[in-house]
Each structure stands twice: as structure tokens, then as C-alpha cells.
Amino acid sequence: MAYIAVPEGVPGIRSLALFRPETGKPLYDLAQVLLRGPSPLTPAERELIAAHVSALNNCTFCMSSHAAAARELFGEEREIVDCVIGNNPSGFMSDKLKALLHIAGKVQQSGKHVMSEDIEEARKFGADDRDIHDTVLIAATFSMFNRYVDGLATLTPDDPKEYEPMGKRLASMGYLSPQNPKP
């Protein structure tokens, strides 16, 4: 049971966006521009950073839904997703992406944990200012979403299969703020 009266049967962030559409709108707009808008990082890579940070924050809803989206977007290379959230090395992963995931993990702990050596390492493998900016903001944003979803104890489906259609929807349609049915 969520701590506040959100619509019943609606999981995670969607229940909160329906409860408070005024904040739901900018939150979904932020996710759309950050994860789907122009960036040197592919949408698949950005979803992977989101799933990684959500796994570190132990947020089952966000981790499962963004991992599902990342699997859809990676297609044949989907194995990379389970390697990252399971903390195993993956042959598919570039050194640049590894360095950016490392920075995201630092941001998850605290912004102050990011050291210039972490940034230098990412730059050595070709990361530019936009790669670094987007990585830091995605990690920061999911440090918000994870706390928001779990802090209000929203509905979190247990069955991994329930996240597959969410992943497909996020991969094909992106982030559209859910609408309350018209009275």
C-alpha cells in the first residue's frame, strides 16, 4: 500500500504522475529530453545508465522498467544490460561506456565523490563534455526518481514479466505523461 492515496493498481512513477499531474508533467518532460533527446549517447546507453543507478539505489521498479527498456533498445546486444545490473563485465561494452558508468556510480553516492581522475579516465576513451554532462544528470535524476518512487511506497510488481511491456512501450513511445481518464 502506498503511503498516500494514489490510484489503485497503477505501479511506480505512473501512480504518482496521476496523483499530481502538475509535477508529473515536468518530470516526464525531463525524462524525455534526457533519455531520448539529442545526445552523443544512444537512448540504449542512457537507459543503461538509468538502470545501473536504479540498481545501486535498490529501486526495483525503476531498475526493472529501465532495464527492460534498455534490453529492447540494445536488441541483439541486450546481454550487456544484465551484465551491468548484475555487476559483471561485458564484452559488448566500450571502455568509454565503462568509464561513464563508473562516474554515474559515483554520482549515485554523492556528487562530491566524482573526482577529476574519473573525468580524465572517461575523456581518455573519447568522452566529451556532453557525454559527461548527460551521464551526471541522468545519474542525479534517477537518484531523485528512485527516492520518489520508494519514498512513497508505490506499487512495485514482483513478476519480471510485467516489466516487458513497459520496456517495449518506453522503447517505442518514450516518456509521455500518463493521463487521468476523462470523467
Binding site: 502538475e22 515536468p26 563534455d129
Partner: protein
């Protein structure tokens, strides 16, 4: 020196917001709804929650910038803000706000740290579902803003009077049409 090349002379979040206006827009719209729109929690109380969470995250820029705005709204002095940070349980604020600050502090540690006892306590002191929602989201949002500001290594003026002096201007201009160059 920030970790990436940000426009010169813009401290704290102003640099990243000028660097990437496309993400600044929803971030500022969120701040406007959460901290300024019509609400049973007054603006000063909401800025105080933002200040407290930023203090817990040890984000110098955010805790002082929002502390300055809270000071303006609440017409209080810096000592009052410092008392809330160091021990809100003994500060001169309502019991309801204390219960909400305790929820905000749990969110700062991790969403799962919020307990139903904390929520029940806030409700018994008159907190509405919307107030609890907004408290959780303000705390979560500042866990984001603080990480954005510090994760990019942005500069922050060390003189606290800089922030106190800007509090009135920020309160009057709001966040919706935030101009990072102003």
C-alpha cells in the same frame, strides 16, 4: 574548475543550466511547481525543506542559495536557518513541519528509509497526502539538484552574504523563467 567547460562566471547550477537549456527547462518548471505554486505549505517551509536536504547532502551552493530564499520568505535571520539544519527538533517551527523534515531526511538517505510510522505521525499532526507527496518529492528533487551541482564540480562563492543578498531577487523572479545569466 568545473569538470566540463561551463560558461564563465556562473556559480552553482547556473553553469549547467546555461550549458544545457533543454534540460534546464523541465528542471525549472519542476522547481516552480514544487517550491512556488499554490500550496498549503507556505513557500518558506518548502524552501526550508530544500535547504535542509541540501545541507544533509553537503551541497554548499544549494543549501546557501535556498537558505537565502527561505530567509527572505520567512523574514528570519541566518541563525534560525542554522538551527533548523543542526537540530530541527529544537527549532522554532511547527510540529507538523518537524514531522515532514524527518520524512525528508529519510528520503535523503534512500526512499526505502521512509517508514509508515513517520507518515502516520505527520498525518496525525495534520499533514495532508499532498503535503507528504510534495515533501518527498522536494527531498528527492534536491538529491538530484545537489548531485548535478557537485557532480560537475561547479564553483560556489564562499561568502554566505552573497546568497542571502540574492534570496529576495530569486524569490521575486521565481524559477519558471529562470535566466542563469541574471
Amino acid at each position: 574548475m568545473a569538470h566540463i567547460a561551463l560558461p564563465d562566471g556562473l556559480p552553482g547550477i547556473r553553469g549547467p543550466m546555461a550549458f544545457r537549456p533543454e534540460t534546464a527547462k523541465p528542471l525549472n518548471e519542476l522547481a516552480e511547481v514544487l517550491l512556488r505554486s499554490e500550496n498549503s505549505l507556505i513557500r518558506g517551509e518548502r524552501e526550508l525543506i530544500a535547504t535542509y536536504v541540501s545541507y544533509l547532502n553537503d551541497c554548499f551552493f544549494c543549501q546557501n542559495a535556498h537558505g537565502g530564499i527561505a530567509q527572505h520568505y520567512l523574514q528570519c535571520d541566518l541563525t534560525f536557518i542554522q538551527n533548523v539544519k543542526s537540530n530541527f527538533a529544537e527549532a522554532d517551527i511547527s510540529e507538523k513541519l518537524k514531522a515532514l523534515l524527518s520524512i525528508a531526511a529519510s528520503v535523503q538517505k534512500g526512499g526505502k528509509n521512509v517508514t509508515s510510522d513517520q507518515v502516520e505521525k505527520a498525518k496525525s499532526l495534520g499533514a495532508t497526502d499532498l503535503e507528504i507527496h510534495d515533501t518527498v518529492l522536494i527531498s528527492a528533487a534536491f538529491c538530484m539538484f545537489n548531485r548535478y551541482v557537485d557532480g560537475l564540480g561547479t564553483p560556489a562563492p564562499s561568502d554566505i552574504s552573497f546568497y542571502v543578498n540574492r534570496g529576495k531577487q530569486r524569490a521575486e523572479e521565481g524559477y519558471a523563467n529562470y535566466n542563469p545569466y541574471h
